[in-house]
């Protein structure tokens, strides 16, 4: 108690106000960095939403967790996270009525989109997880189970792995040559040869796995930047910077 009493005035002077344990996000300086330009983080009931929200808060992005089309329309950019099964995820998006609004905002209005894990796989035309299911179809390709040729490579592909940056992409600015990211997945996106230019990063795991894609304003990564420390937060930060730079202020007004 004595230590606390002594420390309090010092802290108040430094921080301006006494910080409590439960408002971490609000106290982060960077909160003001992208002030007023909100990113919609789409909540369709898939896992890891909190991790992504935490990571965005830590880099100072202003996020709103939402299923509301109005909020998505108001946002400057969209992040679609996800852990889980392809069919179930698509089903939930469909039931929440988000497919038309996503198409309208991302394809027609060209809002920056960042897909994480399942958010990358949804871009495909078709997914083959537990049967055949339709995806967004924004990138020509299919989602198939990983079948590594090396028996030492087990499925799911889970853990830290290096990626190769095969084509330049805005979200990889400032990274090392072979950055390491955290992966958890059993299925991977196979991009159609006609759209091979969309693949910006690959990863070796008994086969070549699509680690990241970009097509105009659509960015997506198979790994989990929210759990990949330095490199991962750098990717999220790049996306924020990039998306805020490319969007006129009026959209937000």
């Amino acid at each position: 108690m004595l230590r606390y009493a002594l420390a309090e005035p010092v802290l108040s002077a430094v921080e301006g106000a006494r910080a409590t344990q439960h408002d971490t996000a609000a106290r982060i300086e960077g909160r003001f960095l992208y002030n007023g330009r909100m990113i919609a983080l789409i909540d369709y009931g898939a896992g890891n939403l909190k991790s992504v929200a935490n990571a965005c808060a830590a880099i100072g992005a202003d996020i709103e967790i939402t299923t509301d089309p109005a909020v998505i329309r108001r946002a400057t950019s969209i992040i679609l996270p996800g852990v889980g099964a392809f069919a179930e995820g698509m089903d939930r998006l469909r039931k929440a009525g988000l497919l038309p609004v996503l198409h309208e905002e991302v394809i027609e209005k060209k809002k920056p989109y960042l897909g994480i894990c399942l958010g990358l796989q949804f871009l495909a035309e078709k997914g083959f997880e537990h049967g055949e299911h339709e995806g967004f179809g924004w990138i020509k390709g299919t989602v198939k189970k990983i079948e590594p040729k090396d028996p030492a490579c087990k499925v799911p592909h889970m853990g830290w792995n290096d990626i190769d940056l095969v084509r330049p992409s805005g979200i990889f600015t400032g990274l090392q040559e072979h950055p390491t990211f955290y992966f958890v997945h059993s299925f991977a996106l196979e991009v159609d040869p006609s759209e091979r230019d969309a693949v910006t990063a690959t990863c070796e795991y008994g086969q070549t796995i699509t680690a990241a894609v970009q097509k105009d304003n659509i960015f997506a990564v198979q790994f989990h930047p929210e759990k990949s420390q330095n490199a991962g937060l750098m990717v999220l930060k790049n996306f924020c910077t990039l998306s805020h730079a490319s969007i006129p202020l009026s959209i937000n007004a």
Partner: protein
């Protein structure tokens, strides 16, 4: 190829982290917030947070702490201790855990593993096995005798299981065998870790966190024969735990015993840049591990001071 991992194991007891020796808690080392912040900064690959409280009413405090801790953790976070229902798993995951560590609950209830794997995916389930050296040859299947679970394992005669344990290689090296203990290392089960690990893998766990109760807290190195036997028997990754006294022990576990990840608890406390030093050593030794580098967490320290 996937990289080997360095994992810090944090033992949470009544709001503070503790060190442990032979599963007895020797001293409190301070706040979990400090540990999470520093280990994140010092290039850790993953963190395992275990609730080792003996008092059930402290559980709510653990949940509150977890919610805050997970918001400061930018590496995968596995959380466990006292998890025996799928609902509890769901709650931990919604509070920011990436994986759930299960132990006694899974041993008692096969359905628990199956349901958990089905609902959250097996990559979410880490099975913790606490093993102790024993002179008695353990059985290679779980017996229902000790477990008040009538549905499985009945009718396995002692003789039959002993001989098949030998056949399966569980008793190689003839003198040292191991037995699985549950309920925080207190209750022997008579089952060999290899058999239990294989069984659980079949039911759907994605990883095995293997602790040697004898080595825990001694600083004399991992129980390499235990780790080697389990790592050789299952396909899922095995995390070695219990007994790290210097970084060479970590190298041994990976190179000699083929562990996929090495974990330590006590040694990481009270040592400046502990996890980074360990990482440097592994990296310099040529182990395929993520590059050791500092990460500036960029968040204000939390809590500044905590009073109850």
């Amino acid at each position: 190829m996937l990289k080997k991992r360095l994992i810090a194991c944090l033992l949470w007891r009544d709001g503070m982290l503790v060190q442990s020796k032979g599963f007895k808690h020797t001293n409190s080392v301070g706040s979990a917030y400090t540990a999470i912040d520093f280990f994140n900064t010092w290039s850790i690959d993953e963190i395992i947070l275990l609730d080792v409280t003996r008092l059930p009413h402290k559980r709510e405090q653990f949940h509150r702490d977890l919610t805050e801790l997970s918001s400061r953790c930018f590496v995968p976070l596995a959380v466990g201790g006292w998890v025996d229902t799928v609902e509890e798993m769901r709650r931990l995951l919604s509070e920011g855990a990436d994986k759930v560590v299960i132990n006694s609950g899974a041993f008692r209830n096969e359905q628990f593993i199956r349901e958990g794997a089905e609902r959250f995916g097996k990559q979410c389930l880490v099975l913790s096995i606490d093993a102790k050296r024993t002179s008695v040859t353990p059985f290679d299947t779980r017996r229902s005798v000790m477990l008040s679970s009538p549905s499985r394992g009945e009718g396995v005669s002692k003789h039959a299981s002993t001989s098949s344990a030998q056949a399966s290689g569980a008793t190689q090296g003839d003198t040292v065998t191991h037995e699985v203990f549950i309920d925080r290392g207190r209750k022997g089960t008579g089952v060999s870790p290899v058999a239990w690990a294989k069984q659980a893998e079949e039911w759907g766990v994605g990883e095995i966190f293997l602790t040697s109760i004898d080595q825990d807290g001694t600083g004399n190195g991992y129980d390499l024969s235990l780790i080697e036997s389990v790592a050789g028997a299952v396909d899922v990754p095995v995390i070695a735990s219990g007994g790290v006294g210097n970084w060479q022990h970590c190298i041994d576990a990976i190179e000699k015993a083929h562990a996929d990840a090495v974990s330590a608890a006590n040694i990481f406390h009270y040592l400046e840049q502990s996890t980074k030093k360990a990482k440097n050593e592994l990296f310099a030794h040529g182990i395929n591990i993520r590059h050791p580098e500092f990460y500036d967490i960029g968040l204000p320290r939390n809590p500044l001071y905590r009073v109850e």
